[in-house]
């Protein structure tokens, strides 16, 4: 008998008492009810708590702020669908795509990465990347040491269920809440282990 058949048989036998599957009570919050500016403020507060950098800017100011965060002489990676205007003031742009992927060594040599995001959750300080063209392959937001993430204010949800409703779970998803961190030594939080050690979130007011 194959392992599959045997395990499924064992599990069916184990349920000899035919337990009923209960109804799921979903009385938890599905919406936060927070107005837009309060969602921005909450996300900012949570990200700062994780030791991420945060700024809130109007759309026309994005290129200047991105250039400022990148600094001079920086090489940075962008996914193929990132709006070109947003990085227009920063030289050193390298594009990565699934069709023409950069090698791991090339990613490792880049100083930074700039991406968009699919959604953000204010209450938990989370940004969610889903591999769309403005976010790119999972590796690009992982290997360079500095991640600049552009978040449109309209994509900020108050609580997690609001954000997940709009996402397709079959896309490769990366949820990011602050920069890489560990608490493995005496539970003292240290930012920056294997992922990017610096996370800057630029929230774009609309």
């Amino acid at each position: 008998m194959s392992a599959r058949t045997e395990i499924l048989d064992r599990l069916r036998s184990a349920l000899h008492d035919a337990p009923a599957a209960p109804d799921i009570p979903r009385h938890y919050r599905h919406e936060s009810g927070l107005p837009g500016d309060e969602r921005i403020e909450l996300l900012r507060d949570r990200l700062l708590d994780y030791k991420a950098g945060v700024c809130v800017v109007d759309e026309p100011d994005v290129p200047a702020r991105v250039a400022e965060l990148l600094g001079k002489g920086t090489t940075y990676v962008v996914p193929p669908g990132l709006e070109e205007a947003w990085t227009a003031l920063a030289p050193g742009r390298i594009t990565d795509s699934a069709e023409e992927p950069l090698s791991v060594a090339e990613l490792d040599a880049a100083d930074a990465v700039v991406t968009g995001c699919a959604a953000a959750v204010a209450e938990t300080g989370t940004i969610i990347l889903d591999g769309s063209p403005d976010q790119g392959r999972r590796a690009i937001s992982l290997i360079p040491d500095h991640h600049i993430c552009l978040v449109r204010a309209g994509d900020i949800a108050g609580v997690l269920p609001e954000a997940l409703r709009g996402l397709d779970g079959t896309h490769p998803l990366t949820w990011i809440s602050g920069p890489s961190a560990t608490s493995d030594i005496e539970l003292e939080r240290v930012e920056g282990v294997h992922g990017p050690r610096t996370l800057d979130v630029v929230i774009i007011r609309v």
Partner: protein, 509 residues
């Protein structure tokens, strides 16, 4: 559906691997209690994490509603496990993933080895995983000439020190910063000899140590926190980015997961991703969560495998009282609030799963008649703190009592004559059955005082009661019983004030 299954109910098949303790809990606990450094490290760690958890849990107005939903979702998963597994398999496979089934630890290990060899590799990077810990994968791969590198900082510390993890979430919780620095200096080639015990410096040393491994690894091995049946999606929850490195950079990804980790639908993830981080690390959200559904062309591993592991889970599922232990999402909140765990540490439990959840899960997976694990259900004061802390409301104290009864029953069958415990219990039952007999028994109290000696402590009880005094002293009994005191103070002067229970008892006689 399970209700229409007409096959013969089989005998439960129990799990093996690193689930079995090599010695009974009382013996191991007694030794660990003597380690003052361990208790200091543990006390600090469990209290820190406990306080953090309480703070972030208090922030959510709907915490109890989330627990209710989480508990019901898991109950529903267990009731429908076979069909959900088939649904998951169909969806994961449709998106380019490959599923392998493993009846036990040995079969899972062999499957992983074959997949690594097929990929032409002789080393792998590993994301921290309880399932691979449970089956002893690292040790097995080493025997087979394959090097497995743990990449989670705590797992790395434990691996470099040739030690065993002592906590589900923070495996090196029993070590402090100075001990960790000493391990790094001793075991890490090319480490800066001037390394200090500053946690940031230690984390940096781990980063440098593993960086090249990550960027060049061909095969990674992981566990999974959740699997969504409806879409065929797997999820790994982590902090350091070592998970993301392993899950996205290598060509081949092999995941080992217990069959119980399923969630029916995408919506269920919103419940568990609120419950898990706050319960485990006391954070609003863990730094990184990765989700993948089979293979994504041009992004991440192109050979994606999942080994579905039974290893005693079907046997645990067969226990109607105990099956809710399979609801566990491995958050470790129960450990951090447990007074027994706090004093003995995780090693005393022997099995891969320590603490209150381990005390029920390990014997359920291996069977209560498994020699040393039979002592685990007694490794508890039944204070109930674990039940309060559990995000999916596993009633651990109730299952502990159930397993104690199973243990007693299983041993009863093997004895012909009544044991000391049976005789003692019979005697106690007779004595406590009537106030008059109890009063008579209490006349012996001064004897106990005498036995205690001048320091007013009894260090050794006779017979089977000796087990109780093995690792603690019993205070000397008082000179007179409460009953005597009541009689002297109130009994004669105010007969009408006799406690009604005593009166009733007398009427019965």
């Amino acid at each position: 559906m399970s209700s229409t299954y007409l096959g013969m109910p089989g005998r439960p098949v129990f799990g093996d691997g690193n689930l079995h303790a090599t010695e009974a809990f009382p013996t191991a606990a007694r030794r660990e209690l003597g380690n003052a450094q361990l208790r200091a490290n543990l006390g600090h760690a469990t209290h820190t994490i406990r306080d953090k958890r309480l703070r972030v849990v208090a922030e959510l107005p709907d915490w109890e509603e989330l627990r209710d939903a989480g508990s019901a979702i898991k109950e529903s998963v267990m009731a429908r496990l076979p069909e959900l597994l088939e649904e998951f398999e169909a969806n994961f496979t449709a998106r380019g993933g490959k599923i392998h089934w493993a009846r036990d630890a040995a079969e899972a290990n062999k499957t992983v080895r074959d997949l690594i060899r097929d990929a032409g590799a002789d080393e792998v990077v590993k994301v921290k995983s309880m399932a691979t810990q449970e089956i002893g994968l690292n040790e097995y791969l080493e025997e087979q000439g394959i090097a497995a590198f743990e990449t989670d900082l705590a797992e790395l510390i434990v691996q470099l020190d040739h030690d065993k993890p002592s906590h589900i979430l923070v495996p090196a919780i029993h070590k402090n910063r100075t001990q960790i620095r000493d391990i790094f200096l001793r075991e890490m080639p090319d480490v800066d000899p001037g390394l200090t015990n500053n946690p940031a410096r230690l984390a940096e040393a781990a980063r440098v140590h593993l960086r090249r491994k990550f960027l060049s690894a061909k095969v990674a091995v992981s566990g999974a926190n959740f699997a969504i049946a409806k879409s065929g999606t797997l999820a790994v929850v982590e902090s350091e980015g070592n998970g993301r490195m392993c899950l996205t950079l290598p060509e081949t990804l092999i995941t080992v997961m217990g069959v119980e980790k399923l969630l029916p639908s995408w919506q269920d993830l919103e419940v568990f991703m609120q419950l898990l981080p706050r319960s485990s690390t006391g954070e609003r959200m863990n730094p990184y969560t990765s989700l993948w559904t089979g293979v994504t062309e041009g992004d991440g591993p192109q050979n994606v495998h999942l080994v579905l592991l039974d290893n005693g889970r079907s046997a645990a599922l067969a226990d109607e009282m105990g099956r809710s232990a399979l609801h566990c999402i491995r958050c470790s909140a129960c450990m951090n609030v447990c007074p027994v765990y706090e004093r003995t540490g995780g090693h005393a439990y022997g099995s891969t799963y320590p603490g209150p959840i381990g005390a029920i899960l390990s014997p359920l997976l291996t069977g209560i008649t498994s020699e040393e694990n039979a002592s685990l259900p007694y490794a508890s004061s039944l204070c109930g703190a674990c039940y309060d802390a559990c995000p999916v409301k596993i009633n651990i104290p109730e299952i502990l009592v159930h397993l104690r009864a199973e243990d007693v029953d299983s041993r009863r069958g093997t004895r012909k004559t009544p044991g000391q415990m049976d005789v003692a219990m019979k005697a106690a039952s007779w004595a406590m059955g009537a106030g008059r007999r109890m009063a008579l028994a209490e006349k012996a109290l001064p004897l106990g005082k005498l036995a205690a000696g001048p320091d007013r402590k009894i260090k050794k009880l006779p017979g089977i009661a000796a087990g109780w005094t093995q690792s603690r002293d019993i205070p000397a009994p008082p000179a007179q019983s409460f009953r005597d005191w009541w009689g002297k103070e109130r009994g004669k002067s105010a007969p009408g004030e006799n406690a009604p229970t005593i009166t009733r008892q007398k009427e019965k006689e």
